[in-house]
């Protein structure tokens, strides 16, 4: 079964011309790549474009991947990171930093309590805006480690820096997010309540 194979094995077969292996690999990895680009850019359009670019890159230059240097997932995050940066440099003023959770993600939530649903949505919007307002090198570690749940080692491989750098950036990013959320809570008090309820 192809689904039992590792990413590296699937890539090897795909590069040998196995379309099914490529499809399995794509379906396994496209979600995290898409969400990484989405969290980094705030635009689903940019995220789709980046996802496509990443796997197109894999098709064309997949043989450059060296499994001894790290996992394929971290490699793909690193490629995605570069494409996201290019997309952000192209400056999509009408798309980037929009209101991200209001459309698709919000519709996926099944809310038992409407009041809580509204407050949760406010929380999501506030944290997403806070994440998007972070400087890029802080944002990418938050997205990789906190939202994509990558290990520090994988994040370090994707970003191309030391693990200690990832840890210190993450620490600093959390402090910045905390300040931003406190500021948002001062503006919209429901956020801290929902957060407190989630914690308890």
């Amino acid at each position: 079964m192809l689904t039992d194979l590792t990413d590296e094995q699937l890539l090897t077969q795909a590069l040998d011309g196995d379309e099914d292996a490529f499809t399995v690999l794509y379906r396994r990895r496209q979600g995290p790549i898409f969400r990484f680009a989405l969290h980094m850019s705030g635009s689903s359009h940019v995220a789709e474009e980046v996802t496509q670019e990443v796997f197109l890159f894999l098709v064309q230059r997949g043989r450059d991947f060296d499994a001894e240097r790290g996992a394929l997932g971290a490699y793909l995050f690193g490629v995605a990171r570069n494409y996201v940066r290019r997309a952000l440099e192209r400056n999509y003023p009408e798309q980037v930093l929009g209101s991200p959770v209001e459309d698709e993600a919000a519709s996926l939530m099944v809310e038992c309590d409407p009041t809580e649903g509204i407050a949760r949505r406010q929380t999501s919007n506030a944290i997403w805006k806070a994440v998007l307002s972070l400087p890029e090198h802080y944002r990418e570690v938050v997205v990789l480690c906190d939202l994509q749940e990558q290990s520090y080692a994988d994040a370090a491989q994707a970003v191309g820096c030391a693990i200690g750098t990832i840890r210190s950036r993450l620490h600093r990013a959390h402090d910045m997010l905390s300040k931003k959320l406190r500021h948002s809570a001062a503006v919209a008090p429901g956020i801290s309540k929902v957060a407190a309820r989630c914690v308890s």
Binding site: F22, G31, Q52, V59, R90, S124, I127, A195, C198
Partner: protein
Amino acid sequence: MTCREFKHSAASLTLWELLQAPDEQILTHAQQCEGCGGWLQNQRTVAASLQTLQAQTAAMQAGPRVERTLLRAFRQTAAGSAPQPMVTRVSAPTAFRLSHFFEIGAYVAVAAAIIVSVFLGIRLLQHSSRTVPVQSGIIPGSTRPLLQKPVVAAHGDSSKLLSAVANNHVTRTARSRSQRRDSASVATATVQTVAAEESQPDADADYVALMFCDPLSCSSDSQVVRMELPANSAAQNSQPPVADLVVGYDGVVRAVRIVN
């Protein structure tokens, strides 16, 4: 546990580990220390917010169009041909379009500058070729040097010299220049010049060359000076003889003509 140890221990944990049940020592210190307790609470708030965001976006993924495009590219690559470029891109941002416009504008400006400089260069060459001193030559059948751009002395007889210059095959430019000088120095001679040219077309034939005239040195400015010869040189004549001397820039007399 000190505050420093608390921060060090907490920093080694991930956000999710802080959100769940951290170390007992950490919790104890957070309860005792207000500052560290507040910090831990803020971190938990951040973790909870990020968890909410993560849960909301967990199901999001790329659309089927991306997969179709990639599979098409994969088949083309597998078939040995280069894959098609990206699908429809987002319209180019205004900044990019403007930069592209300015890039074209820069090329146009450079091309225009080159054309203008070439034009000016040609004009300059033409101008310099006009102002190059006229090469003197030898009149066929005569060994006397040519007179180039003579300056007529302030005498009424300067019209003869002008006609001499004109008949010496001096170029039109040199002639007009000398005529301009004449008009400045001898205002009344201008009208007479034309008549003199017609009546005495070979006035320079009276000049006698006193030295070999190198074409280069003779082409420089010279001046015609009218002077009376010393009385002893004109032995018994009642009137002292008058001569026109063509004096070069170096003060050497090039030619002489006896007027009377």
